[in-house]
Amino acid sequence: MSIDVLMPQLGETVAEGKIVAWLKSEGDEVREGDNLFEIETDKVTMEVQAIAAGRLGEIRVKAGDVAKVGAIVAVIGADSGTAAGKPAIESPKAAPALPPARHEPVAMRSPFEEVSTPREIYGRAKGPQGVRITPLARRLIAQNGLDVEAIAMTVSNAGRGKISQSDVRTALAAAPVAASSTLPPSGGVFQLNIIRKRTGERLQKNWQTIPHVFQAIEVDFTGVEAARTGTKEKFKAATGFSLTYLPFIARAACIALRKFPQINAQLTGDSLALASQINLGIAVDLSHNGLVVPVVRNADDLTLPGLAKAIGRQVDKARGGKLTSDDFADGTYSLSNNGAFGTTFTAPIINAPQVAILSTDAIRLRPAMVETAQGAFVAPRLTGMVGQSFDHRAFDGAYSAAFLSHLKTIIEERDWAAELA
């Protein structure tokens, strides 16, 4: 067995050393503890002892030469010339990206990005006519599809050199109703805003290319409600977010999707690529001004409270106009929550390249049949329709139905209280 003799770490901040002299020659027998060679750095000179016994084989770094700390300077062993020993340095390779910290309930920020820098660029600070534009004004101009030239002209004509949000709001008020949430007078023309226009184009393409099939199943939410009422006040107080039905449904969907992976997939040509992550798109209505679907990434890694917070955050960001392109990327499955106005079921349009989308509608008290040992009785239960539009090219109705059935079982029978503890 041969042992590598290394250039030792001489000082805490020293990176290399010079061998001043070899005190043994190639071929000499050395004992453990014998002085082998003398080294020098800018701080210190010292003798280095052999840490093993054997014959000194090849000397690789000669007297007068410099070597880095940890370099093999010689070999002690039966076979000189063959460094058969494993390298002594066993440090890990350059670190890959840091995985989310497991001890936190929500995979929040990376410690290397403690502030969430927005990725969007809304234009330059220097505008036309030599006016400057504040960041807020630039964002509002871009988001509302306004004519920056016209605003700059107005501001410049008024003898001012800067476009701020008040100028943009003035322009918005004067323009045909582009992004306001008031309905036009009957018979009037309602100009579509940019978000609605872009969304519309995408929806049309998805509707026309994907063979949509819609299926629904009735789900009893009594158990969910029991767990929810117990904790929703505390949850709101602790986090600022409401604990609605949506996180429960989202959590159940994550669990069910792991059993039915073809639903969490992407169709490309003639193959169905199963996604390894579950990144849930949450459809958010922007006060009748368009629909956006921000994504909650790795949703199946989140606990129920964590999912509620993550969904709440994305919804707030959506309503605050603060979503970035990162928020829309990599969705693998979507949820469309339509229950606010009491509808029974909704068949949503699939978000390509996903192959399915879940829809939920009003959850309210309805008469339902409850089977007991004494027979079947009509009882008021909290129920709602949970439906799924799916791409029939990806899988069949039986598969989708089995998924919905499994989802229903999870929602109705899971120990939700335990998840909220």
Binding site: P135, L136, S164
Partner: protein, 329 residues
């Protein structure tokens, strides 16, 4: 509801926690028999006895070291450092020992203690007894840092600090000790890491701490009535953990940010908040972020000079109105 001074609130806060948990103990210089040089701990010695409320020699390192050793082995001590400037004398414990223990021992040991200290100026004590040092403590990983501005917050945040399992630096303000405020009856427990919006507004966000909070409120009143600028005033209360959500939401609403800080300018706590807002809320800003601070000088003893140095309501009004060009939305 009773009216209580800030200093009496300190006493009540400590008493509340000591009453609740026998593991809470208290040590410091002249804190027991004399009731503290600021009279903020009068009566505790008589009520809880000399084993739980202890006078120490003038030994800041021993005071904080002993608090740490006791905290590591099962007690929940409160230690007083009389003037916050003296934190420099025992800074090893604040910077190297308390906050790094849990990390270096991979969670085996922790430091559930509170260091309460008389911070800030306005009392004519001169440069070595008047500085605001909350920024010195904010920058150390592993600590929590709070600075209440009112008697009710003193009690709520002290209770939260004592119950927290991490080392917490509790900056009381010397100029606020005599200030009175409404305090409800019964136990009061607040939450660390939460800022409070004390005055809602829509034109600009003002973030302030401790003594600067009442001054910011006074300035906001003048700005509204005389300049038509409607300011939202946020009392940060907790520098670590920092309630960035409240601040960012406010700036999203108003588009403007001002900080009012008593610490000397460079590396003041407001610089960190300005940086976060300039980064994360860049596209919400309608104008530059402005920090209103004490100049970067040691503080003078002379009263007219000290009053010039610390930000006051007229200076805050002047700065904000000038920057906003006197025009509201």
């Amino acid at each position: 509801m009773a009216e209580l001074t800030y200093r009496d609130a300190v006493t009540r806060a400590i008493a509340q926690e000591m009453e609740r948990d026998t593991k809470v103990v208290f040590l410091g210089e002249d804190v027991a028999k004399a009731g503290g040089v600021f009279k903020a701990t009068v009566g505790l010695y008589e009520r809880f006895g000399g084993l739980r409320v202890r006078d120490t020699p003038i030994s800041e390192q021993a005071i904080l070291g002993a608090a740490m050793g006791a905290a590591m082995t099962g007690l929940r001590p409160i230690a007083e450092i009389m003037f916050s400037d003296f934190a420099a004398v025992c800074f090893d414990f604040i910077a190297n020992e308390f906050p790094k223990l849990r990390y270096m021992t991979a969670g085996q040991l922790g430091c559930p203690l509170v260091v309460r200290t008389g911070n800030g100026g306005g009392v004519r004590f001169g440069a070595q007894h008047s500085q605001s040092i909350e920024n010195w403590t904010m920058m150390i990983p592993g600590l929590k840092v709070v600075a209440p501005s009112s008697p009710v917050d003193v009690i709520g945040l002290m209770a939260a600090a004592v119950r927290d399992d991490n080392p917490v630096i509790f900056h009381e303000h010397k100029s606020l000790y005599a200030v009175k405020g409404e305090v409800p009856e019964g136990e009061i427990v607040d939450t660390l890491g939460t800022a409070k919006i004390l005055r809602p507004g829509k034109d600009a966000t003002i973030v302030a701490l401790a003594l600067m909070v009442p001054r910011a409120l006074e300035a906001a009143q003048t700005l509204a009535t005389e300049h038509g600028i409607d300011c939202e005033v946020i009392d940060v209360r907790s520098l670590v953990p920092l309630d960035t959500n409240t601040i960012l939401s406010s700036v999203a609403k108003t588009g403007r940010l001002f900080t009012v800080e008593e610490n000397p300018r460079l590396c003041g706590w407001g610089a960190e908040i300005a940086s976060i807002v300039a980064d994360e809320a860049f596209w919400d800003l309608d104008g530059p972020i402005v920090r209103i601070t004490t100049p970067h000088i040691p503080l003078p003893a002379a009263d007219h000079l000290e009053d010039l140095a610390l930000p006051n309501a007229p200076r805050i009004v002047e700065r904000i109105s000038r920057v906003m060009n006197g025009s509201a939305r």
